[in-house]
């Protein structure tokens, strides 16, 4: 019971933010909550948010773990492009669905292994190490697609982008299931604590016998795997692999999702659920802007202002102020209270 309460308290600010943004959209666009079934699939703006938010939510899962170790993975967008290209190539070459998916996921794992080795074995700073693949990755993807958008018509693969299971879009299911599996593995095993320990103090963790090298590599590989799933979804969604544009800038959205989810870029304590809600918050803003009908010149400004407001409201200073004025401790974290006490 207390565990659940702690959990709710952790994700409370993110849930509130999401609710406020969805509320604002529905005021501006009254038809927002209309959900129907079209082609045996749930259809409506809230579904769009979940469906379009799924790739970033997937990236945010891996990114959360990486950031918890005090790292960062800039390559996830490019890894999406690579894995999308691999899946399009595999299916058009006639390898069959299972083999194609296996190859795409293996490509993601290999990218993660590369990043992990650069960071954990060679000791290169994560931001530099993953920048290499961020830059080179699209070139690799272009080699696979031979510079063109590699299109396919395999219904099995398309299912991962625009199919549905029990009327729920496949990307949403993949996102939720992956989130649940990773959360279970991380929290039911000791991985979560060890990852946090590494992020807070790498040297002390090594001295306590934590196998930091292997764990770091595993974390980057998880990030690669999540990016591979997102890449498959993105390619399946448009029935083609677009090496230039698939996942473009999504690494930044993923990092933002983690930050909105309240995980510090300095590593340590993390919450996968909060990061995934963070991804939905970003997508809700995007979808809201599209529904609003503002001229596209304003898109980025509106998005920036909303994100700024969210981050300011979540900043420690602002929380203290809010707590002070409302005398309502709901928004206060443990730390706030403890710094008050001597």
């Amino acid at each position: 019971m207390t565990g659940l309460m702690l959990f709710m308290r952790r994700i409370w600010p993110q849930l509130m933010t999401l609710a406020v943004i969805v509320g604002l959209i529905s005021i501006m666009f009254p038809g927002f909550f209309q959900i129907s079934i079209a082609n045996g699939r749930l259809y409506g703006s809230p579904i769009d948010i979940l469906n379009r938010g799924a790739p970033v939510a997937l990236l945010a899962i891996g990114m959360t773990l990486v950031i918890a170790t005090r790292g960062i993975d800039l390559s996830v967008g490019a890894v999406m492009a690579i894995c999308g290209a691999v899946s399009a190539w595999g299916i058009t070459e006639g390898y069959g669905l299972a083999a194609t998916l296996a190859m795409a996921l293996a490509a993601g794992l290999a990218c993660g292994l590369w990043n992990g080795i650069l960071v954990a074995v060679l000791g290169i700073q994560p931001i530099v190490a993953t920048l290499i693949l961020m830059v080179a990755g699209r070139g690799i993807a272009q080699l696979i697609t031979e510079g063109a958008i590699l299109t396919f018509n395999h219904e099995g693969l398309i299912f991962f982008g625009s199919g549905s299971l029990l009327t729920i879009p496949t990307p949403v299911i993949i996102g939720v299931v992956t989130g649940a599996i990773v959360t279970l593995i991380v929290r039911r095993s000791a991985l979560g604590m060890l990852i946090e320990a590494i992020g807070i103090n790498l040297r002390a963790s090594t001295l306590a016998g934590v196998n930091t090298r292997v764990l770091l590599i595993a974390v980057y590989m998880t990030s690669g795997l999540c990016a591979a799933l997102a890449g498959i979804i993105a390619a399946a969604d448009i029935r083609g692999a677009d090496a230039n544009n698939a996942g473009l800038w999504l690494e930044l959205d993923a990092i933002l999702a983690v930050v909105i989810g309240g995980t510090s870029l300095l590593g340590g304590r993390f919450s996968l659920v909060a990061s995934m809600i963070g991804a939905l918050i970003i997508q809700a803003v995007n979808t809201g802007i599209l529904l609003s009908g503002f001229p596209p010149e304003f898109n980025l400004i509106i998005k920036a202002v909303i994100i700024l407001i969210i981050l300011v409201l979540q900043s420690p200073t602002m929380r203290t102020v809010l707590v002070f004025f409302s005398r309502e401790p709901a928004g206060a974290s443990d730390k706030d209270k403890e710094t008050v006490a001597p």
């Binding site: 666009f29 038809g31 129907s36 079209a38 082609n39 699939r41 259809y43 409506g44 703006s45 769009d48 379009r52 510079g147 063109a148 958008i149 299109t151 625009s162 993105a234 969604d237 448009i238 029935r239 083609g240 677009d242 230039n244 544009n245 698939a246 473009l248 995007n286 979808t287 599209l290 529904l291 009908g293 001229p295 596209p296 010149e297 898109n299």
Partner: protein, 320 residues
Amino acid sequence: MKSTKAILWAGVLASMLVMSSSALAQTVGFSQIGSESGWRAAETTLTLQQAKDRGIDLKFADAQQKQENQIKALRSFIAQGVDAILIAPVVATGWDAVLEEAKEAEIPVILLDRMVDSSDDLYLTAVGSDLVHEGSVAGQWLVDELAGKDCNVVELQGTTGSSPAIDRKNGFEQAISGHANIKLIRSQTGDFTRTKGKEVMESFLKAEDGGKNICALYAHNDDMAVGAIQAIKEAGLKPGQDILVVSIDAVPDIFQAMAAGEANATVELTPNMAGPAFDALAAFMKDGTMPPKFIQTESKLYTQADDPQAVYEQKKDLGY
């Protein structure tokens, strides 16, 4: 019928030129930007093909998006003493010095596809398409197709602030202005990509009563249209019938959609910039005929009547 004629025309013209130019046996240097898009790859393929057809010895240099590589390539062409230079400049500025060098060496330079800011006596001519015109061809098709019926149009713009997005929007608006039956109800950027085209179209459909309010889609490029067509289908509507689809570029994939009846029209941005360039060059070499300073390529309109499947077959191997 019309399209087969066009192909024939090009073939005949090419073979005529082979005869006339083989006597001149030219060497031409071609500095290409790179291969950032399928269209660019097709342009390279067609340029090489056109040169081969005319018996021109083409020296090809890929600049990989870097101006200094292009300048290096031009200097090496000048040093080799080529008869002419084709260049698709990666940026507009910074060409004066190297163009002067070419002029001093009396080597004519022809710009392909993009313009430069240098004085126009530094190059022979520029071959390119008129982006505003492309937009207006698309708009005119819609005007003619509707024949006065009321229609709400949604627009998928290119990358905000890019010149194709601005010009193609303006051209389209010029064409539909004065036709009160056509209303542009929503316009949003799809960044020229399929993914964004699909995502933005999804939101248009939700915002306009499940798409019942929309009668036509105008997309600044085919890729966004292809993405949007999927969104329309997933919303349970029939693209091409319930919602008319018109876009620009004429890449192979849109012809597949047209063959399936899911897209209605596209305006070609021809990757064959080299053909008109070689024509102008041949005339200039032969008797000194000065071409105009800007040769506008044809912005050809393709509709479902143009045997899209055949055009697809013809285009698919160009490297798009």
